[in-house]
């Protein structure tokens, strides 16, 4: 318990100090609970998510960093490796390939990388995976773009 809190506190301070270091990621800790975090990440450029801002929710276990945090999308996203309804993410480093040397910040970076490079062979969102696997890049991109526009962009007017 104490070890995970100490480590999270260090990450918290690091985030405060380097707030502007990575303009694509804004990590914030829950005011009353250091084990709950949220992040805003920018959709990577040259992807259908470009221009969108996506919110992530972190639930950190007591065994952290020996065990990975649980992360899910709060913002709706059309992506083969993200569950369309729950926002659950299928990413190896959040499961068996987790290393205690990863941080919440680096997890965010890995998720941005996943947005740019989907893995259609292990899909959580089958519709999206099937579009990519059948080679319908345009179909996939227009769906993803539409959801980005609907859910991840500030409403105009």
């Amino acid at each position: 318990m104490q070890a995970s809190r100490a480590r999270l506190f260090k990450e918290y301070k690091e985030v405060q100090r380097e707030k502007t270091a990575d303009p694509d990621i804004q990590l914030a800790c829950d005011d009353s609970n250091i084990f709950k975090w949220t992040a805003l990440i920018k959709g990577p450029s040259e992807t259908p998510y470009e221009g969108g801002v996506f919110q992530l929710a972190f639930a950190v276990p007591e065994q952290y960093p020996l065990q990975p945090p649980q992360v899910r999308f709060l913002t709706k996203i059309f992506h083969p490796n993200v569950h369309f309804k729950t926002g659950e993410i299928c990413l190896d480093i959040l499961k068996n390939a987790w290393s205690p040397a990863w941080t919440l910040q680096s997890v965010c970076r890995a998720i941005i990388a996943l947005m740019a490079h989907p893995e259609p062979d292990s899909p959580l969102n089958c519709d999206s995976g099937n579009l990519l696997r059948s080679g319908d890049i345009r179909g996939f991109q227009s769906m993803a773009k539409m959801y980005t526009r609907l859910a991840a962009m500030p409403k105009k007017g």
């Binding site: 070890a3 480590r7 205690p100």
Partner: protein, 568 residues
């Protein structure tokens, strides 16, 4: 930064140089260990000699090993690889784990392409992360807890990525907690493939975790080796090594925990029946198929809703259970509305009689009759199979009871040593073994073709004769062992009579053993003897008699032999 500052130097400090004092075993050690192994083998076989004699023929085919024996073998293989490849024992262990404990594979792969193997397993020859040289006081940030820690308080594996010892301990502990996957634990650094080997576990882990780790190691060794299997007995820790060979394999194994099992299918020992038949029989016993047959015989479906109904008493006027509530006649299955005085009253149904004459019900009736016959046959065999099994279990209990309460008394009363009273234990062990064989002959009998050509018929006759004889032989032995012994627990009984009893019981044990051995052989040969007998006679009784004379003529000769042995 000056590159000189970043040279990894393992000699710089004794403390974190845990990699250099790994003991490479010298030749003397190896010889010693080999001798030990030989000794151990002798002990194992010697132990086995004390087991029931019925298994004696199988003596060459398997060895029961203690956990420590296996550990020794594992250690020997690790040492061998360590010597041949000139690497630490921990590295050898990592290699063997990767190649499923095959010493040959490890050596082949290693000498074919050492670099590739090192990469695959995660054994780095040189660290990829270089530590500042001769700067013990330098502090580095542990990238798990983010504390600044002195290098002397840090640890690393072959890659050199440093983490503080506290984090290492937790990292290793969580992995071991997680299960057998800890045997392939990697460096905590993201994407680093370096193996956390046994030496590092020894260095970082808590005592109880180390213990569990070596348990996992042993388990992996046994489970990847096709020669070894755990005894499936409850709480049994022995491992059985099976040495394949010989023309026809018999897999029955008797563990030191007195559990006998089949090494092939891991079910209970089942000679003379083969594994396939056992599987079929067990499936049959557990399956719903027999229930279906019972339902077919004893129930009829409601003509309206189709639910099966068992009629156990009362008249022919049936009322199906709510919500169906259909009223119908049990005999003809027509609606009850059309029934009454004119169809013959409540206990008969003219419609049925009439239809029967017209042969309308024949087909359904036929199915029911056949199912009934089949069920009857199955029940016959199953009851006897189960009966012998419970008899066997009871005999195991009786033997324990006898050893606990009567042996001491008998020994005092007769002034006989434990060894002199061994014949009683032997008789019980023989009973247990015979009950087991007899049990399986019922599964054998169930699958033996019923009708067919002459050959099949004579086989069945022969089989039933053998089985009957076996049964009465065993009953005689069982009775003598169980009941007669009580006479000799009385002080008044003269010693001479007790000696007679000893001779009688030993004799009976031997005869029964020989009979059952022949029975097992005959059944395993598919009752081939029956057909040769058949040539001279077509009548069952006759063939059985001849067969019996054959079996009987065998017995006395064997008996003579064993007796002769005993005298020497």
């Amino acid at each position: 930064m000056d590159s000189e500052d970043y040279v990894y130097d393992s000699d710089a400090d004794d403390y974190y140089d845990y990699s250099s004092d790994k003991d490479y075993n010298n030749e003397d050690d190896k010889v010693e260990e080999e001798e030990e192994e030989k000794k151990m083998d002798n002990i194992a076989i010697g132990d086995y000699d004390g087991e029931t004699r019925s298994n004696k023929k199988a003596k060459q085919s398997y060895i029961v090993l203690k956990e420590s024996d296996i550990q020794q073998r594992q250690e020997n293989e690790i040492t061998e690889v360590s010597n041949v490849l000139s690497i630490s024992k921990a590295a050898a262990t990592a290699l063997l784990l990767q190649y499923k404990w095959s010493v040959c594979d490890v050596q082949d792969e290693w000498f074919a392409d050492e670099e590739r193997v090192r990469k695959k397993v995660g054994l780095f020859e040189k660290p990829v992360f270089l530590l500042p040289k001769k700067l013990r006081k330098v502090e580095l940030t542990c990238s798990i807890c983010y504390e600044n820690v002195r290098i002397s308080m840090m640890g690393w594996v072959s890659c050199g990525h440093p983490f503080c010892r506290e984090c290492w301990e937790k990292y290793v502990s969580v992995a071991i907690e997680d299960g057998v996957g800890c045997l392939k634990l990697r460096c905590p650094e993201p994407h680093c493939n370096a193996m956390v080997d046994r030496d590092s576990i020894d260095l970082f882990a808590k005592e109880e975790d180390k213990e569990r780790y070596s348990q996992y190691l042993l388990r992996s060794y046994i489970e990847s080796n096709k020669k070894y299997k755990w005894c499936p007995g409850a709480d049994c820790e022995y491992v059985v090594e099976f040495c394949e060979g010989g023309e026809k394999e018999y897999y029955d194994v008797c563990c030191h925990c007195s559990n006998s099992f089949c090494w092939n299918c891991m079910d209970d020992a089942h000679r003379p029946v083969d594994c396939e038949t056992v599987a079929k029989w067990q499936l049959k016993n557990s399956s719903e198929a027999e229930n279906t047959a019972w339902m077919l015989v004893n129930t009829k479906p409601c003509p309206k809703c189709g639910k099966p109904i068992e009629k156990n008493q009362g008249c022919m006027h049936m009322t199906c259970r709510e919500p169906c509530g259909h009223e119908f006649c049990w005999m003809c299955l027509g609606t009850w509305k059309e029934h009454g005085e004119m169809t013959g009253g409540f206990y008969a149904c003219n419609t049925f009689q009439k239809n029967k004459v017209e042969e309308k019900y024949n087909e359904a009736e036929d199915i029911r009759k056949r199912a009934e016959k089949h069920l009857e046959k199955y029940t016959h065999y199953y009851e006897r199979w189960a009966g012998n099994e419970s008899s066997r279990k009871q005999a195991v209990k009786d033997l324990k009871h006898m050893q606990k309460y009567y042996m001491g008394r008998l020994s005092d009363l007769r002034g006989a040593t434990e060894a002199e009273l061994k014949f009683i234990t032997e008789a019980w062990l023989q009973i247990i073994e015979c009950r087991r064989v007899l049990k399986w002959t019922y599964a054998y009998g169930y699958y033996l073709p019923e009708d067919g050509d002459k050959k099949a018929k004579s086989k069945r006759g022969f089989f039933e004769y053998l089985q009957g004889e076996a049964e009465s032989n065993l009953e005689r032995l069982h009775h003598c062992t169980e009941k007669d012994i009580h006479d000799y627990l009385d002080k008044k009984c003269p010693d001479k009579e007790f000696n007679n009893f000893r001779a009688k019981l030993s004799g009976l044990t031997t005869v029964t053993r020989n009979y059952f051995e022949n029975l097992v052989r005959a059944l395993e040969n598919g009752l081939e003897d029956a057909s040769s007998q058949e040539a001279c006679s077509s009548q069952e009784a006759c063939s059985s008699q001849e067969a019996s004379s054959k079996i009987k003529s065998r017995t006395p000769i064997k008996r003579e032999r064993t007796k002769g042995k005993r005298r020497h």
